[in-house]
């Protein structure tokens, strides 16, 4: 799957209260959560994002609470991919389970500037910066997690298990 969009750079330790503040957690609706995405970072931040745009972050993206509303709000806001130096543990699991593509690239995130046009190939783990021409490769998805991904996410993975 290839995704092309504009990069939006954020800093280190972007916590889940920044991604979706607790006062918005009175719904599980992705569009509603998406409309308030990043409201804890800066009011109205999300207005700059178009469908298929890409979040680029420094280390420990998604730290803090276990709220799955965080990846859901990103997806609801039209962001299908987050590229980061590193991810917080619970957020990483949640992202996977929700079908949000997470690419951990270490210091290479520096090569992706705010406003750059990016092309992400999630299957092959490559990110092409169309603005600078730079190509980034990231590590492969661990085999067990591929099993979940191949089933179509955790919901379908469990559905298959229960069906057996």
């Amino acid at each position: 799957m290839t995704i092309q969009g504009t990069a939006h750079r954020v800093g280190a330790h972007i916590d889940t209260d920044a991604i979706i503040p607790a006062r918005f957690l009175v719904t599980t609706d992705s569009a509603e959560l998406g409309a308030n995405c990043m409201e804890g970072l800066e009011a109205g931040w999300i207005k700059r994002v178009k469908q298929n745009d890409i979040m680029v972050a420094d280390e420990n993206f998604g730290c803090g609470s276990s709220r799955e509303h965080a990846p859901i709000s990103l997806l609801g806001a039209g962001i299908p991919v987050v590229v980061a130096k590193s991810f917080a543990r619970i957020f990483y699991r949640n992202g996977f389970n929700m079908g949000l593509i997470l690419l951990e690239v270490g210091d290479d995130f520096e090569k992706l500037g705010d406003g750059d046009q990016l092309e992400v190939d999630a299957d092959n783990g490559t990110i092409k910066n169309l603005t600078t021409g730079e190509l980034i490769t990231c590590s492969a998805v661990p085999p067990f997690m591929k099993e979940i991904l191949n089933a179509g996410g955790l919901v379908d993975y469990v559905k298959n298990r229960l069906g057996n």
Partner: protein, 419 residues
């Protein structure tokens, strides 16, 4: 092969051989937890999975503690959804009303979590039960839904950082100060994906409540679990909570640690985490001229009876500054009643405090103490992210209960010894 605490507990719950950090293992879980924010999503996923029955109706706990007593129509609808699911699936441990408390204070009190258990919860502070020697960790709602259906989940075996705490600390210093200082040293991602294992003479001497305070904030360093060995004190606590059959647990001699962090707390002052990250930690005497508008004592970190006693010892015969709202939320009904019996609530009210119900409330900016722009709070809670307790222009400082109480009296952040 000698094993760490984390490896030993994982091994006890899987047929696979736990060999090394990084390995993925599937484990049976002892208890699965969700709350009024995360359970609605878990139920949505549970239904989407086509699941019909819970793996065990006695091993799923649903605790509606975040926005309860329901703060508005939307949160009431969420709780209604959880309640109806609990009734339909015959969930034994559903809590909402007068028997409900802050989940991570409530479940240990009820004896539902204990040594060598694997507990997963759709709440990041599930790691609290590490204070009892449980491998307990937070996950998202869909992981929780999967475990509610299958009774198992997968873990990446974490590498372990051993933390040895030694020394004789200064006055008004306790568990909260040790964990704040550790987070300050490790950083908010210093234990990312890892287990923290606590040891040393200070840890041996700590109460179980103090150990839970420390384990509670392992996540604030990015940690997966914060584990304590199971000793005579743990077993005594578990028996009092109505559990039977628990046994001591310690790491094997020769277990492999990623590294060992030694912390000497001799002469240490109370610690403060300044805005806007829990690792921005300073000794209280370096936080000067910080006027406060609110002081919150409560939460899954510091809302237990020992915390209330610590606050009461400072507040007795004193008055909160007239510019400060002092909000005290005992974490469970049992703690509330005990505080009433001991006369602590009277001390609080005489000091001008608002004594509220057992709820997470202001900790996450939910309700019952939200900050306006430009307001500053000191809180015994666990997070001080930007906007955590209200406006994006507000500030939260984290401390132990004695410092929060003393600061409420002084109207600014202060060392209780300086009162």
């Amino acid at each position: 092969m000698p094993k760490t605490l984390a490896e030993k507990i994982l091994q006890a719950h899987t047929d696979e051989v736990v060999k090394e950090a990084g390995q993925i293992v599937r484990c049976k879980v002892s208890l699965v937890l969700a709350n009024d924010i995360t359970a609605p999503l878990a139920i949505k996923s549970f239904n989407a999975m086509g699941a019909d029955q819970l793996f065990d109706k006695d091993k799923v706990a649903l605790v509606c503690d975040h926005f309860t007593p329901n703060k508005d129509i939307d949160s009431a609808e969420q709780v209604k959804l959880v309640r109806e699911f609990a009734h339909e699936k015959n969930v034994t441990h559903y809590y909402e009303g007068g028997d409900c408390g802050v989940e991570h204070a409530l479940l240990p009190e009820l004896g539902l979590v204990g040594p060598s258990d694997i507990v997963i919860g759709a709440d990041s502070h599930t790691c609290t039960y590490g204070g009892l020697g449980a491998f307990a960790t937070g996950m998202g709602s869909t992981d929780i839904a999967g475990a509610m259906a299958l009774g198992e989940t997968w873990f990446k075996v974490p590498s372990t950082v051993k933390v040895e705490i030694e020394g004789t600390p200064g006055q008004h210093v306790g568990a909260k100060d040790y964990i704040l200082r550790l987070i300050g040293e490790l950083g908010v991602s210093g234990a990312l994906y890892k287990a923290l294992e606590f040891s040393g003479s200070v840890v041996d001497d700590l109460s179980i409540e103090g150990r839970m305070t420390i384990a509670n904030m392992a996540i604030e360093a990015g940690g997966k679990v914060g584990l304590f060995p199971v000793d005579a004190k743990t077993l005594e606590y578990c028996v009092a909570a109505g559990r039977t059959g628990d046994v001591p647990l310690s790491a094997d001699v020769g277990a492999v640690y990623e590294r060992v962090v030694k912390m000497d707390v001799t002469g240490m002052k109370p610690q403060i985490a300044c805005p806007h990250l829990p690792d921005n930690v300073k000794p209280v005497d370096e936080v000067k001229n910080m006027k406060i508008h609110q002081s919150v004592i409560g939460s899954c970190t510091n809302g237990r009876i020992s915390d209330l006693r610590e606050a009461a010892a400072i507040l007795k015969g004193r008055k909160a500054n007239k510019n400060v709202r002092l909000i005290i939320l005992p974490a469970t009904p049992t703690i509330w009643k005990q505080a009433l019996k001991e006369g602590l609530l009277e001390i609080f009210m005489d000091a001008g405090a608002i004594v509220g119900p057992a709820t997470c409330g202001p900790c996450l900016g939910g309700h019952m103490g939200i900050l306006a722009g430009g307001e500053r709070a000191i809180a015994t809670t666990n997070r001080n992210f930007k906007g955590r307790m209200g406006s994006l222009q507000s500030e939260v400082f984290l401390s132990n209960p004695a410092v929060a109480a003393a600061s409420a009296i002084a109207g600014e952040i202060i060392d209780p010894s300086a009162l």
